[in-house]
Symmetry: C2
Subunit: 487 residues, 2 copies
């Protein structure tokens, strides 16, 4: 094993997890969902990757709008200070394009023989030892030039996943006879009984050169678009990470197609490593519920709930007290601005709610009440036609852009930490329990010079309070002066 080349875990952090609304939303999708231990799925995936032997760098492919919260999440768990590579997509283009840019990037920076381990950012794996063993098996096959898939040993007749049919034995795994789409229940039962079919977990291992060569042979359009996207990417390198923002023009030319359809189903070089690793894709609230211990009544409760004759309910209400009477088999998920109540057997259908919210262009489709920005977060506490009240949290050393509003003035009251303020021509520091006033038309900037979070209350007033009343003069996060985002 020591002869193997370096390993680059490649975390694919895309998709919106619409079936996990209202916690998962477009601008805070499923990888950022926190489990009950406080860690996000993305953090768990990173940790699982970082603990593998021989890792040279962790590569992440994600949307460019998710860069800062991805780095925030990694900062907490990247104790070993592994180097980070980030490929930033202008928009989602399915897994074929994402994996293609990953392989090309690895080939360029780590060489032809470097191995990629493709890991979706939003799955759970409970048996990390078995996972590491499966990766070792997969790397041997990858070294031999195979595109290696991971096949999960089924324990029930599942109709929600694609399957992989094992062929002849091959070293530490098997050849793949064929991939099959999501089956009906009878077929799934047949697969389970037959013992030849495994769940397709969407994880892969291969050498960079193998993937690039096979794409050239079977999906050249994907490869060409990926090359163009990288060639015209905007690059940023600092001491902790290398970031490449893919060009929209190049990336946009890639077909919206999965790696399974584009390549795996066509290539003759595909192997599978069967594994039993406690895997879950957490595809729905019901799937998450299956992983959560329940009380004697079959209920799983997070938060303050008073239950009278309630059975088999999954209740997540961290902020408000919930009273329930005589109900059973419900999924109840409460967030500050939106509430879900679903029959537990229908939790797949939550997607219909999200589709309707999207159609209505409803804020609860994309945003949480607390909105994450590169510099921290803001939460709208109260809103009316003439005023808006926000709690603003600025991370240590972070800074909002130098900006100006035409129509609104702002009162700032610091409740915790310290704020360095630019207000018109003046610069000054205010501390907890002090306040300042920014009249409309004044250029202003807010910086946290300290080492703890700055928490302040902003009271906006004026005749127009839209987030697009902003003129931005200077931004340390390189955001455009256009009035497209808040601060």
């Amino acid at each position: 094993m020591n002869t193997l080349n370096g390993l680059i875990p490649c975390i694919i952090s895309g998709g919106s997890g619409t079936r996990l609304w209202p916690v998962s939303r477009q601008n805070m999708p499923k990888p950022f969902m926190r489990m009950r231990d406080g860690m996000s799925l993305l953090q768990k995936t990173f940790q699982r990757a970082a603990r593998l032997p021989g890792v040279e760098s962790v590569l992440t492919v994600t949307n460019r709008d998710l860069l800062f919260r991805t780095l925030d999440d990694y900062r907490v768990v990247n104790k070993a200070h592994l180097p980070l590579d980030l490929l930033l997509e202008p928009f989602g283009r399915n897994t074929a394009a994402a994996i293609a840019v990953a392989a090309l990037h690895v080939q360029e920076h780590f060489g032809d023989q470097a191995q990629l381990l493709v890991m979706p950012a939003d799955h759970l794996i409970s048996d990390e030892t078995a996972f590491a063993a499966a990766v070792t098996q997969a790397r041997e096959l990858a070294e031999a030039g195979y595109l290696v898939t991971f096949g999960i040993q089924p324990d029930h007749a599942e109709t929600g996943f694609g399957y992989i049919e094992k062929g002849d034995a091959l070293g530490t795994g098997y050849r793949v006879k064929r991939f099959v789409e999501k089956p009906d229940l009878a077929t799934a039962q047949g697969y389970l009984d037959g013992g030849k079919h495994l769940w397709n977990a969407g994880m892969f291992c291969f050498k960079a050169s193998t993937l690039v060569d096979e794409l050239a042979a079977h999906a050249n359009e994907v490869l060409a678009a990926a090359k163009a996207a990288l060639e015209h990417s905007q690059n940023l390198q600092n001491k902790t990470s290398r970031q490449r923002e893919l060009s929209a023009e190049g990336f946009g030319a890639a077909p919206d197609i999965s790696i399974d359809v584009a390549l795996m189903e066509k290539s003759k070089q595909v192997a599978v490593v069967p594994c039993d690793i406690g895997w879950s894709d957490i595809g729905s609230w019901e799937a998450l519920r299956q992983l959560t211990p329940s009380d004697p009544q079959g209920n799983q409760v997070n938060g303050e709930a008073i239950l009278h004759d309630v059975h088999n309910c999954y209740i997540d209400s961290p902020k408000r007290v919930l009273g329930a009477v005589g109900v059973r088999d419900l999924i109840i998920v409460d967030t500050p601005d939106a509430l879900l109540i679903a029959d537990a057997h229908r939790s797949q259908d939550v997607r219909y709610i999200v589709a309707e919210l999207k159609r209505q262009d409803h804020p609860a489709y994309s945003l949480h009440r607390t909105v994450t920005r590169p510099w921290g977060t803001y939460t709208v506490l109260e809103e009316s036609s003439r005023f808006k009240i926000k709690r603003i949290v600025v991370k240590p050393q972070a800074s909002l852009s130098l900006q100006m509003h035409h129509h609104r003035s702002e009162h700032w009251v610091v409740v915790s930490g310290a704020a360095q303020i630019t207000n018109g021509e003046r610069e000054f520091l205010i501390n907890a329990n002090e306040s300042t006033y920014i009249p409309a038309g004044h250029k202003h900037r807010l910086t946290n010079p300290g080492i703890i979070d700055l928490v302040m209350i902003e009271v906006q007033s004026g005749e127009y309070l839209g987030e697009d009343d902003i003129v931005r003069f200077d931004d340390i996060y390189g955001r455009a002066p256009a009035a497209d985002v808040k601060k």
Copy 2:
């Protein structure tokens, strides 16, 4: 009819309506619940009383803590500026004591022959014309010296009400043969089929002297306590109302007993007027739901809800978007700090949730997030160990007490209206979009000198933020300087 003496509608506004939690709570009980037309049950009851002919004054018996919000509600609907009498209970002592003090008060101020019409504050009556006609019938019997009850014509075999059995015809009504307790279903069906039984609606009509005489004969302990409570009451008379705060010592001596048990079941002078007036006591969410029009799926929705295959659900979610999937027969009631989800057939059992909240001394038992004060309201928007943010609304011409806090300082930002501020030795006016700062230890007062609501944001900070850190120097509402209530 013109020979009749004056009529004093007597609104009994007590009870907490625990089965209507989380909207009805101890400090904002059922009479204050708003129906979909924006009017509270109390306002509807007042209006129904005020429209009757011959009304001299509207008398209300309620808890002293509910005085100001009762007057606020009446102000909106008392267009005719009817005189108001208010008897303020120090605590609830059931209907016998409440009606006894009402009758004694009416006897004292309006004479022996004045008639009382006792009306619970939290019932709905949809046919006001039929109601007025029934009152006219009842007044004739009351004039002849009867204690007159109102018997609702049953339309189904209800097990949740007591029944009145009609006896011989008597003028415009019937003698009462007997009162019966809540029956089982078979008995209720027998009552319905037999045609002799009516629902006991808890409404009564009688001359003051009749009630006092009958109490003396059958329930002298109640009468004695009521006399003592009035004798030592604290009285306040102004141009719009006469208020008597009953003495706790006197009132506390009254047995906790209903007027039915104390008197009606014993007196020989009891009559009943059968009526069909569209009556509902709104005893549960299910009862309220029965009065609400439903959509083709049988759902009743208030607020923004996205429903996928949802049937026969009552949904009240005025502030947050709700997504529901595949559920039926649920009562869902959402408030800013508490949420109820109940099987519609079990809505009586909401009382168990409330009992448990009470046992835990949970704030959601007694208070809403928006708390009503004599001068207006406050809402806690956000709270942490070091700061608390409130939205404060002060009614025109209202004023908070002159006060001081030892441990917290307060930032005030006016977002709407104008504020007259006393801050230490200074007095000044601030307008929308202006702010001031009250350091800990400064005496301060806030007044709304204007004719529109003053809305302001208060940011409190300090090491201790309890509502009991208050020293009150002067209060136009006569509240004690003791640190027992906020402002």
